[in-house]
């Protein structure tokens, strides 16, 4: 049985008239077990592979090999299917005109590998249709409590309007989780990130097709290690208080604020998807009505909930004090993740400005990103930034845009922008 703990980091002391309470809540899961084996329902896995014409013969072969590697990692007993996508979606396995899934065993694994080996490159790209088919396929197995897909693409979503993709994403949000990967440099980070964020998954670039198999293998292994099918973060705030935001801040920055569904007038629920043995940090900000010096109140109750069971809880407090030594103290955790969140935004804004030809804004934003990455000890971000800018002064954030940048490096900086580092202890 999975075991969850929640720990809060905050400065609960507010000055006279202070209203805003910030806290970092670290939720840790241990003993999650394997997907579909916790006794609370079955696990389902769908592999979605781009087989559009742009993939070419070599690309499709690499993708097929990667899909076969992924099939090897799916545990016996897990329900699965393979979808090939171009400007429309086809169920590549099981071979059926109607949506269907089968359980993994040695026979179905081999049959699926055979089916995947017959992939060929043809047609355009309409990822919305792939997502819709995946949702219909998952829906054929009512016992599934954990639904995960990996989606591979190599190009822009040309054969579908952005609105159609948005509608498709909306229609499948909450139906399954999806990790997305782009191979090569012809795909749009924003487009694919949109899918991943809505479907509680990750996004990354795979620069060359020969790296696909290792990545797919890792993704499926991660998915199979998530024995907790679905958990929700619940945030209670007192009457009259305002929840300014709820963000996941580690391992990646994801703003959850808009994903709230009301449990009751004072409590909101935010889906967090499935959990393996891991820890995630959440930044919760609450605005209260100020109280008198010496008064204390609960500012928020942050819980992790499985179904209707509260499995971990942290209390965020507020205590008004006249002691400046207490009220001016800044929680290092809150400061760190505030910086990391700004870092992600600075990278994305900087790259967007660069793409739009706005060199001045790009230089400022990426300079700020360099400064924040250094200040928060995010060395991976610094390394990625160095491939896009020349750094004159790291602390001051003075940079120059490099004249020639590898497209893949720029995309890697973009996809990894939301990855955060933990607080240095």
């Amino acid at each position: 049985m999975a075991d969850f703990t929640a720990t809060v980091y905050q400065n609960e002391f507010l000055p006279d008239g202070g209203t805003d309470v910030h806290a970092i809540v670290t939720v840790k899961c241990t003993g999650a077990g394997a997907a579909g084996q916790s006794g609370s329902g079955d696990a389902g896995e769908i592999i979605i592979v781009d087989t559009s014409g742009s993939m070419g013969r070599d690309g499709v072969q690499a993708a097929a090999y990667a899909a076969q590697t992924a099939l090897d990692q799916i545990l016996d007993g897990v329900w699965f299917a393979v979808i090939s996508g171009n400007d429309r979606a086809q169920l590549a396995f099981p071979p059926s005109a109607e949506p269907v899934m089968v359980r993994m065993d040695s026979y179905t694994r081999q049959a699926a590998k055979d089916a995947v080996s017959r992939f060929y490159a043809d047609g355009g790209t309409a990822m919305g249709t792939w997502l819709r088919l995946a949702s219909r396929v998952f829906a054929t197995v009512p016992s599934l409590t954990q639904k995960h897909a990996i989606l591979l693409t190599d190009g822009e979503n040309q054969h579908e309007t952005p609105e159609a993709l948005t509608q498709a994403i909306q229609s499948v949000t909450g139906q399954f989780q999806c990790d997305t990967r782009g191979v090569g440099v012809a795909w749009q980070v924003d487009e694919v990130r949109r899918i991943a964020q809505a479907l509680l998954g990750t996004v990354d670039i795979i620069p060359a097709p020969d790296q696909l198999a290792a990545e797919f293998s890792k993704l499926i292994q991660n998915a199979m290690g998530r024995g907790v099918a679905q958990a929700d973060l619940r945030v209670w705030a007192p009457q009259g208080a305002e929840v300014l935001f709820v963000r996941q801040v580690a391992p990646t920055v994801e703003d959850l604020t808009a994903r709230r569904t009301a449990v009751n007038p004072l409590t909101g629920s935010y889906p967090t998807g499935s959990w393996g043995d891991e820890s995630r940090d959440y930044h919760v900000a609450i605005r209260l009505a100020a109280k008198a010096i010496g008064q204390e109140q609960l500012a928020a109750r942050v819980q992790l909930v499985l179904g209707n069971d509260v499995v971990a809880q942290s209390l965020v407090k507020a205590l008004w004090s006249a002691d400046d030594a207490l009220t001016t103290r800044i929680s290092p955790e809150v400061a760190h993740y505030t910086g990391q969140t700004e870092l992600a935004q600075a990278i994305q804004d900087g790259l967007a400005a660069k793409a739009a030809g706005d060199t001045a804004t790009a230089t400022t934003k990426l300079g700020r990103a360099v400064q924040l990455a250094a200040a928060t000890g995010n060395e991976e971000a610094t390394t990625r930034l160095r491939k896009v800018v020349d750094i004159d002064d790291q602390e001051a954030g003075t940079v120059r845009l490099k004249r020639t940048v590898e497209k893949a490096d720029e995309m890697a900086l973009d996809t990894a922008s939301t990855k955060t580092t933990r607080v240095r202890k």
Partner: protein
């Protein structure tokens, strides 16, 4: 109590420069809280200054865990209102007792301190003016777990006083001696209770003061260790201080220095006797008087008398406050606590009263 009796000189108070030991939570000299925040929560990563006492307070009526004082909502298991989030007062932070309509007391955290280390235990027979037992202990805040120790001490002492009915040979003087002997036994029990609540390797063992007053058939016997006090304020006669503090200030006063000067000096709150593992002696000094007319018996901690030390003005304050409360003891005790809080509430405040 804002004071320590002993201190290993390792550093100085940031406020007055007086010597303080690393384990001290408050400066011995000026009462400044040392290392606020960190000292109270050395092991938790979050800034959690919660200092719940480690024992349940069983004798405090449960009806004090009522709805939220702020909005009327339900108070949850963690002690916060489930609607507006307001922290419910801890039972240990403020409790009241009234064993009989004519005897009542209020024990309150005050404003400045983060927990209530004062304690009180009362007993009384129903017949007004017949028999009353009032015990107040004030935990020394520079020692560890004084809140737990002081409450255990007060209750243990009150239990001993409740059980005893020895009247000697029945003459007034032998009755007085018998009651004084009971007070000594009560102090022994209180001392044992403090020791029972002190961990053997504590760097700063729990300590508290002790004052008890016993009224029995017209005899009033009071005894104290430390600087918690008992007063007798007869309606038709001069007010009487029944106790003399075991304190640095009291020793100065004995040498002829004015009370005002002595009690405002840098070591005004240093006490010379207390209950605890490192106590030199805990035998209470007792005073016996005959009660011949109506009046107020007051037993209190320094949280009250800090703001009104002399017997005469304190008697005026008690009489005026009582008049404003229709002479009702609990309302009067509560109003006196409110008054001390209005003066700043620098320390924990305990006021126990018997209307005789």
């Amino acid at each position: 109590m804002d004071v320590a009796m002993t201190s290993t000189t390792e550093t100085v108070c940031p406020s007055c420069g007086g010597p303080v030991s690393e384990a001290d939570r408050f400066c011995e000299a000026c009462g400044t809280e040392l290392n606020p925040g960190s000292a109270t929560s050395p092991t938790t990563p979050a800034l959690d200054t919660d200092t719940e006492p480690t024992i349940e307070i069983s004798t405090v009526p449960v009806d004090q865990v009522g709805p939220c004082q702020s909005c009327g909502g339900t108070v949850g298991a963690e002690g916060y209102c489930e609607t507006c989030g307001t922290k419910a007062a801890k039972l240990r932070d403020h409790f009241e007792e009234q064993p009989a309509p004519w005897v009542a007391g209020v024990c309150d955290r005050g404003i400045r301190h983060s927990r209530n280390e004062d304690a009180m235990a009362l007993g009384a027979d129903a017949e007004p003016g017949s028999r009353a037992l009032l015990v107040v202990c004030d935990g020394v805040s520079s020692s560890l777990d004084s809140d737990v120790a002081s409450l255990a001490a007060a209750r243990a002492a009150c239990e001993v006083l409740q059980a005893g009915h020895a009247k000697g040979l029945g003459t007034d003087s032998s009755r007085g001696s018998a009651i004084a002997a009971r007070l000594k036994a009560a102090a022994d029990a209180a001392s044992d209770a403090v020791l029972d609540n002190t961990s053997p390797d504590s760097p700063n063992p729990a300590s508290c003061t002790f004052v008890a007053a016993v009224l029995e058939d017209g005899l009033l016997v009071a005894g104290n260790v430390g600087d918690s006090r008992a007063y007798w304020f007869p309606d038709e006669a001069e007010p009487v201080a029944l106790t003399v503090d075991d304190s640095w200030a009291a020793e100065l006063i004995a040498t002829g220095i004015s009370r005002e000067e002595a009690e405002s000096g840098p070591h005004a709150h240093a006490i010379t006797r207390w209950l605890g593992k490192d106590a030199p002696d805990h035998t209470p000094r007792t005073t016996t008087i005959h009660v011949t007319g109506p009046g107020w018996l007051v037993v209190c901690s320094d949280g009250l008398w800090n703001y009104c030390s002399e017997a005469a003005p304190l008697a005026d304050l008690v009489r005026q406050t009582a008049a404003g409360c229709g002479g009702e003891p609990k309302a009067t005790a509560s109003a006196l606590v409110d008054w001390a809080n209005a003066q700043g509430g620098q320390d924990n405040i305990t006021v126990a009263l018997a209307r005789i």
